[in-house]
């Protein structure tokens, strides 16, 4: 019985001991360390922010634009080449109207 009472008293005392914990001072140079950390973070963020606007959305748009531009150039280049090849073929085998007319005249 006494043992039970002692344990109960001891536990109460233990719970109440929480309010006996004293406040302490911050470690030395804590303020300097925090200030250094804060303004170090600021610099690195500024460096990253230089390309910050170039989000994946813009990156995809630029990539698509680049692909469309390339395909257009390729298409134009191929069709102009086809025309030139045809002309060369016609001239080589003498199928051109203008040339035959010139001989007859």
């Amino acid at each position: 019985m006494d043992d039970k009472k002692n344990t109960s008293e001891f536990i109460d005392e233990l719970i109440e001991s929480a309010s006996k914990i004293k406040a302490v001072n911050t470690p030395p140079f804590f303020k300097d360390r925090v200030l250094n950390k804060l303004f170090e973070v600021d610099h690195t963020e500024k460096k990253i922010d230089f390309f910050g606007w170039f989000t994946p959305k813009y990156q995809i748009a630029v990539l698509l634009l680049f692909a469309i531009l390339n395909l257009t150039v390729l298409y134009v280049y191929r069709s102009s080449n086809k025309q030139r090849d045809l002309l060369t073929f016609v001239e080589t085998y003498g199928f051109s109207d203008s040339e035959s007319e010139l001989i007859l005249n």
Partner: protein, 192 residues
């Protein structure tokens, strides 16, 4: 008026404003972190993280509550985040020790080493036991008990920080005491 200027300077991230903020709040922040995590080095790391969070999130602070209340909230959240991480690591370590891949660890400790500078040497063992018992409480009870009993805050202050009514703080505190008593009684039954 002065506070408005101070807040404006904080939002503009002026170094002088942060120097003043640290002068005013470093003690409060460090001691609150220490109340949750009784290790000087861990508490210092958490307190640093608190100020970094204040710096990054001050723009979101609307002034609905006092600045000190808002900082206390960050302290509580960062400390709980630290404890959660430690507890996860502890569980992982325990699983590893079961499978034979890791070293056995102390299953009841969530702090690196008990090292609270505000506790007298003769009370060290007792309060270490108390901190371990507090860690076994549900999170809401843990927060209320720590802020009220260790940080000596009034019910009103605790209710402002936790955004709960005073009556629910009273009820949480009552349950916290009851659970602590239960945990400690079980511990003594095992020991003796």
């Amino acid at each position: 008026m002065e506070d408005k200027h101070f807040l404006k300077d904080l939002k503009e991230q002026k170094q002088s404003a942060y120097a003043r903020l640290l002068d005013e709040y470093q003690g409060m922040v460090f001691n609150t972190c220490l109340s949750f995590v009784p290790n000087k080095e861990d508490a210092e790391d958490i307190a640093q993280e608190v100020f970094v969070e204040v710096y990054n999130s001050i723009i979101k602070f609307k002034g609905d509550s006092k600045l000190s209340t808002w900082i206390y909230r960050i302290c509580v959240n960062k400390s709980l985040e630290f404890i959660r991480k430690k507890n996860t690591k502890k569980r992982f370590g325990f699983m590893q020790s079961l499978t034979g891949n890791g070293v056995p660890i102390d299953k009841s400790s969530y702090f690196t080493e008990y090292n609270h500078p505000g506790i007298q040497l003769e009370n060290k063992e007792k309060s270490e036991l108390l901190f371990k018992a507090i860690n076994k409480l549900p999170e809401a009870q843990k927060v209320v008990f720590t802020l009220h009993k260790i940080d000596e805050m009034s019910y009103k202050e605790v209710s402002e920080i936790t955004e709960k009514s005073v009556s629910s703080i009273e009820s949480l505190l009552f349950r916290a005491r009851k659970n602590l008593r239960k945990i400690l009684t079980e511990y003594y039954k095992k020991e003796h």
